[in-house]
Symmetry: C2
Subunit: 342 residues, 2 copies
Amino acid sequence: MAQPTMQQVAEAAGVSTALVSLVMRGAPNVSDMRRALVLKAAEELGYRPNVLARNLASRRTRTLGVVVNDLHNPFFAEIIDGIQSAAEANGYRILIGNGQHSRRGESDAIETFLQLRVDGLILAGAVVTEDEMERAAKSAAVVAIGRTAASREIDTVNCDESVGTRLVIDHLVGLGHRRISHIDGGSGAGAANRRLGYEESMREFGLGEFINTVRGDFSESGGYNAADELLTLHQRPTAIFAANDLSAAGALDRVEDAGLEVPSDVAIVGYDNTGLAAMHHLSLTTINQPRGVFGRIATELILERIDDGRTTAVHHVVAPTLVVRKTSGPSTETSREEEILV
Amino acid sequence: MAQPTMQQVAEAAGVSTALVSLVMRGAPNVSDMRRALVLKAAEELGYRPNVLARNLASRRTRTLGVVVNDLHNPFFAEIIDGIQSAAEANGYRILIGNGQHSRRGESDAIETFLQLRVDGLILAGAVVTEDEMERAAKSAAVVAIGRTAASREIDTVNCDESVGTRLVIDHLVGLGHRRISHIDGGSGAGAANRRLGYEESMREFGLGEFINTVRGDFSESGGYNAADELLTLHQRPTAIFAANDLSAAGALDRVEDAGLEVPSDVAIVGYDNTGLAAMHHLSLTTINQPRGVFGRIATELILERIDDGRTTAVHHVVAPTLVVRKTSGPSTETSREEEILV
DNA sequence: TTTCGAGATTGTAGCGCTCTAAACGTCAAG
DNA sequence: CTTGACGTTTAGAGCGCTACAATCTCGAAA
């Protein structure tokens, strides 16, 4: 396992280690002859630069540490895709740390990266305290995705939930719905924003009197139970807006169990556009957050700090989009009310 | 961003850098007095060991690189959980690299880790050539999860597909099914093993004449189309065994679209026990692979090589289990045939 | 021919740490 | 009082690389 060093390559090629170093880094002022010589020697020896030594000597790592809150959540996979391609385009490599869905796990991952002296730290969906983020910002550039930060040292990238919720309500109202209920995410992260956005949008459309939120917990069973509650109402809603796709799936399940048709009897809209929503037999209308864009922007922000020396905080807000699928359709409400009146 | 060094801590504490080094590494032969002194100085300065320098000097990193084929696949998240807890228990840290679902991406991730001089490399679901794995094994201990390797330098951890497929057929036969068709994974990774396992098991149960495989591709739509094909058969199968959960979901969709009941008209079994399968409204009978165990065993194997110096290859095979949910049930076949005969 | 300068190459001092061997008490036994 | 042993501390030589300044080369201009 003893690996060849630059020294050995230099000797084999009959040049100095400094020249080998230049060749390895792709420096311009090296004659083609020696470059070829060095490359050949390196190839033959199976030389592989020692990044530890390189980084130690150059005091840069050109490495970004990415800490994700929870690797199980496919949400983060797409963010990482965005980060990775943006990082590579700029000559940076990324390393991924798993927060294991806990504050403690995130802290550990952050500490590991700082000890590795990464140039930048991207925190995706982090639940660590802002204090801790600020402490990290003393040693590396930090940007947080999906959460706010007051510190001047920390940039953020977020999605505009008020736009997302308005998109949903606008869509449903446009289809003739008025009794639109909301299954919220309880005390989960971001749940409050979506609930608020729902209420605001309803009022904007003059539907304040129809505001009706039932508690969920971002889970399938939570959505199922919440829908159950909604179906027992005297006047059941004609549309259900769930705080995420999973609870929308649960709600859908309950509604269909009750023998009702989706979307003709009850329309259902989710949030997040997960792989689930795209499934043929679910085909859920939902809000899409441009996750890859999150990653790209976060990377760009962090590189502005590292390479361009920006020191003021930038807070980027990205607009979500509506993805219409098969669980939303025109309300049959109006005609029914007329029938009743007649 | 200039970080305090061991030198500064030593000066502040009035001791040598060597002593600081000992304290930082938790060495035993240090007097309590000096230990406290050093710890205090380090704390006050906000000292954080430089892992680059440490690893360079000690020629060990106590770090495991984990390369996953595709971060989008939740399958790997659980494997990582297993690796992480086993690694931590042994004083190792892990770094995760994303293969981006491509040979090229995996190669890059492997190369990055080797340049970082990780002590061990765990490849999960890797699609790189065995040659490349072997080359990596010259610089670090390597274990592959979910694939075979002939090299003596490489350990493997795999699931016994023949057991898994037998479990499925056994279950279905026990329920009275005989016309059990298979939707395979086409040329996808592992598809051949499952197809073979299906055929073998069928023959074992004396059902060779009912062997019938239609082509899928591990996708939902692939499952849908394959099921479509199966339903047009003169004698349609009473049970469908799909090569993974996603294609099982597609098949389920098609069967229900045809107005048939699952499981009474057609039973459906998937493979992998993904989160999808557990969903209430799918509730798919499927084969569970103990993913966390994969990770734990892989880690144990790699540490045997690193710490205990094992040099022979170990190939570990883990047994999968059957998870019975709602898409499988008794065959109604027998009674029907009797009716026809009468 | 001499001079000059740009490009190519090299010597070497670190980067921040670990590790080995040696040095330094300190104290009980001789 | 000397010696030896033991536990603690330290000096200093690397680890493999980069960065900077210094040096070398060689053709073009004077």
